[in-house]
Symmetry: C2
Subunit: 400 residues, 2 copies
Amino acid sequence: MRVVSEGVGRQMAGASWIRRMFEKGLELKQQYGAENVFDFSLGNPDIPPPAAAREALLGLAEEALRPLGLGYCPNAGLPVFREALAQRLARQQGVAVTSGQVVVTCGAAGALTSFFRAVIEPGDEVLCPAPYFVEYGAYCGHFGGVLRPVPARAPDFQPDLEAMEAAVTDRTRAIIINSPNNPTGCVYGRATLERLGALVDRVNATRERPLFLVSDEPYRFLAYDGVEVPPVLPLTPFSLVLGSFSKSLSLAGERVGYLAANPAMPEVATLMGAVTMTNRTLGFVNAPVLGQRLALALLDTGVDVGVYDRRRQAMARVLDAAGIRYAMPQGAFYFFPEAPGGDDQAFVRALLGHHVLAVPGAGFGFPGHFRLTFCVEESVIERSAAGFAAAVRDVCGGGV
Amino acid sequence: MRVVSEGVGRQMAGASWIRRMFEKGLELKQQYGAENVFDFSLGNPDIPPPAAAREALLGLAEEALRPLGLGYCPNAGLPVFREALAQRLARQQGVAVTSGQVVVTCGAAGALTSFFRAVIEPGDEVLCPAPYFVEYGAYCGHFGGVLRPVPARAPDFQPDLEAMEAAVTDRTRAIIINSPNNPTGCVYGRATLERLGALVDRVNATRERPLFLVSDEPYRFLAYDGVEVPPVLPLTPFSLVLGSFSKSLSLAGERVGYLAANPAMPEVATLMGAVTMTNRTLGFVNAPVLGQRLALALLDTGVDVGVYDRRRQAMARVLDAAGIRYAMPQGAFYFFPEAPGGDDQAFVRALLGHHVLAVPGAGFGFPGHFRLTFCVEESVIERSAAGFAAAVRDVCGGGV
């Protein structure tokens, strides 16, 4: 019997690399003990939420028994939270965002699916620089959209704007960018972004159905060495930003994020009304109220970014010692090094042999590299050094 | 410019009646004061959550600063919660459900969209008895499914099984039922359900792609006068039940629900794997962790059902006094009376004139009736009596 649809059956057969490594990791941990497995596969932020989270939850406990205290809230989010988000985004982006241009969503993922549902006709295309977070393909694919990755330029992984412009067709509905980037850790420079905004404006000059520039930026808070993460909303009227509090507040499980549009976008109210509706009809209904209230209480705080920076340095030392080449991440919590020997899947298998979990670049549409996530304690990173060195020897023989 | 897709644009133009009444209500409340508006339009449970919610949240506050305490959890839900749900469902349904057949979802709505995404091919049909919750159409429509309502038999609103069987085609993928029912308050009888299960089995005897019987039962806990709400899983191997804690625990805003399948269903593991995947890729990722932990802590409690029963009696007295005809609801918190004068939209307009908010039956695919929700205090119901009586006079002149 065929209990699932063809498309979903195909997706299941090609289960994501990240998930496969996750399952492999569970096996290894059961077999060898968690302390003997070095898991750099999953981006589940392990730094505790800001200390104020405790106080905020105590306050929510006192309010929870109020009638409607945990009841439905408006589909676009708690008005007080939308307002606070709008003020924060206006400051951050340097554009006069008001609450009418903000929808609170179930994380960044919920923002993307609600947005794609609102704008995509079957056959529409979405461009993104590769490597990229593979679930983008599923997010637009639910509604008949097709993701068209455009390879970025190694070694710095800035988007290739010539290739991007050449890839635009009449069916291109959105360009999605992610900076600081998962999986490369690179941050897009101001000049590159300004050229991207100009490209979008050029395309839209002759369009009835606009091309949107969508910036997925859950790692905006996490840039190192004072590097600038330029705002995206000023680049073109057809710009949107989305993010979440999964990483900045370590609230990934509570699913709170947002989508905000440039207030200068033509018919922006129609678009935000549509996203509010699709957010409801896709079954989110509203972002979880406890998470909204918690994120509101913590909006001016953040996790200790210094911890991630120290891990970044530790990981760099481990890779250096193993002779593995990489671009130092400017943001987020990922390295995307070159696979010694050139074959990312072979190298990731070699790492597995030494109980080190990584994800091959193939899982991000960019073979020849592999991804490491540093959501683990510094001591785990340090203890993984021998495994990296041994895996390099396995694939390259004597020397790299 | 066309910023949204054609389909979504059409849906926005036909905004749901419930939402329209909600907005009308806000206007009236601003103009006349909330205490002078009688709002029976929205089903936002106003009884406080069980008292244990406070204690549970205090406990969560103490745990929140643990690393990963609010982090991602498995896409199918916290293992301890899935296990507890499976045990509860096994008892409730009399079928040996285990945690592998349970997926924790973002409310009942998230259960439905994740399920439809997993099984529907474009052009597939979904049957449901009318009147029905109109968002069912959007839930399957996102993925190219088409909802085909089959009118129930007034005045008791039991499903019309002859009409249902006649409506089944090769493309019918699911029959969705909802008992205790929104909007009618009726509860489907055991004999009717058994005939429905037999119908599904008859159809599946010759099918490669099975027809599923899907029971949406967030009101299972809320039946009056000791009426039985028969379990649905025993009816056919191709049965699924879904529900939420929105009503039973007054947690509607926190978005926690579940989907569970009959363990005897062929390829049930494939189906549950698919729903776990679509739950992730639709952007839910996992049901909110705070809500999952809260629902787990409260699983053996419930809101005070007696409050709803007293309101039901009060509403019946108000309708009797106004000479409005109705079937006494056996469950849920809705009345679905006949519209005096026969025109539901005209009568709802007349009610509005007296600051009483209701939803016309047209909003549930069943004109000639209207829906009243008793999620308001008994005193509000009592004070609305004059408005109902006056509206009846408006549309019927001297007598009903």
